[in-house]
């Protein structure tokens, strides 16, 4: 049966994750105000990706889920990433 008690995440973990998320938010606001040219978008997106990883892992409990659920989520995000890459391979190399 799958109704057994699952892992109770202590408040401390959630508070630490929130602090990390807030720090990354302000870091991304800070980094885009520096002139990085075309790397600005990349920097902002890298910060957003780290933040989404934290939300998925701790807030959405993937860390405590069974491996097949992690694999499912990872697979879907990987496919989305591949679609973006293919779209830009098209746009970047159009004559």
């Amino acid at each position: 049966m799958s109704n057994e008690k699952h892992h109770i995440v202590p408040f401390k973990v959630y508070i630490l994750v929130l602090i990390a998320l807030l720090a990354l938010t302000f870091a991304s606001i800070g980094i885009v105000s520096i002139e990085l040219g075309k790397y600005t978008v990349a920097a902002a997106l890298i910060f957003a990706t780290i933040k989404s990883f934290l939300v998925l892992t701790y807030f959405m409990h993937l860390k405590y889920d069974k491996p097949y659920i992690k694999a499912m989520v990872g697979f879907v995000f990987a496919i989305f990433f591949v679609v973006i890459i293919i779209t830009f391979l098209d746009y970047l190399y159009r004559a």
């Binding site: 799958s2 109704n3 008690k5 699952h6 109770i8 995440v9 202590p10 408040f11 959630y14 508070i15 994750v17 929130l18 998320l21 807030l22 938010t25 302000f26 991304s28 606001i29 885009v32 105000s33 600005t40 978008v41 902002a44 997106l45 910060f47 957003a48 933040k51 989404s52 939300v55 998925l56 701790y58 807030f59 959405m60 409990h61 889920d65 069974k66 659920i69 499912m72 989520v73 879907v76 995000f77 989305f80 679609v83 973006i84 779209t87 830009f88 746009y91």
Partner: protein
């Protein structure tokens, strides 16, 4: 013989509920993912116009809303822990805080959109069509569609949390039957996840 003696058991399977919720989240990713691809292609084709149009957006109000959503994500995550610890009062309190934060987010959004409307910027407005370039019109179109769709998700999330509050209060959602609250949490985190990408893409173009 034995079967007739058995009482009707309501079917409950927490793991199946969770998989169902994740499958639903994948369809949401398809919806927003498509919009993010449209955004990235148009931005690639109109870099200057997106840059210019984004100046109209208020980074401060965007940052405040980011903080609000992150904190509300934490409070709903905490409420799933308190439910497991059988602290009903704390669970209801944390869910209440989540609802209030969600409402504050919507109020901020109302003022933010209101300011744009005052400047004559809304989809199809005369000012937008005459004073802005094609790329800027695309930016504002995407801005209204994506943040609007996101706000709609906030409203739906709040309705789901209201149901969770009601059921936790009645005791039909408890430490042994937590799926509704867990799934409400997953949905709310998804809304947070989408905002994590909307914020830098619309408000942080400098």
């Amino acid at each position: 013989m034995e079967n007739t003696l058995h009482q009707e058991h309501e079917h409950y399977d927490a793991e199946a509920s969770k998989i169902g919720m994740w499958l639903f989240i994948f369809t949401e990713l398809l919806l927003f993912g498509g919009l993010f691809i449209v955004y990235s292609v148009y931005r690639f084709l109109n870099p200057e116009a997106f840059h210019l149009a984004a100046e109209e957006l208020n980074t401060t109000i965007g940052a405040i809303n980011t903080v609000i959503l992150l904190v509300s994500s934490m409070t709903i995550a905490m409420s799933t822990s308190t439910l497991q610890m059988r602290k009903k009062g704390a669970t209801l309190f944390l869910l209440g805080v989540t609802v209030v934060l969600g409402l504050v987010f919507l109020v901020n959004k109302y003022f933010e959109w209101g300011a744009k409307f005052e400047h004559g910027i809304w989809p199809g407005s005369e000012h937008l069509k005459t004073a802005f370039s094609q790329g800027e019109i695309l930016f504002f179109g995407l801005y209204y569609v994506m943040t609007g769709l996101h706000a709609l998700h906030i409203i739906i999330g709040l309705i789901i949390i209201f149901f969770a509050i009601h059921r936790v209060n009645r005791g039909t959602v408890n430490e042994n039957r937590a799926a509704l609250l867990e799934n409400a949490g997953l949905y709310w985190h998804l809304v947070d996840l989408i905002w994590i990408f909307l914020f830098p893409l619309f408000y942080l173009i400098h």
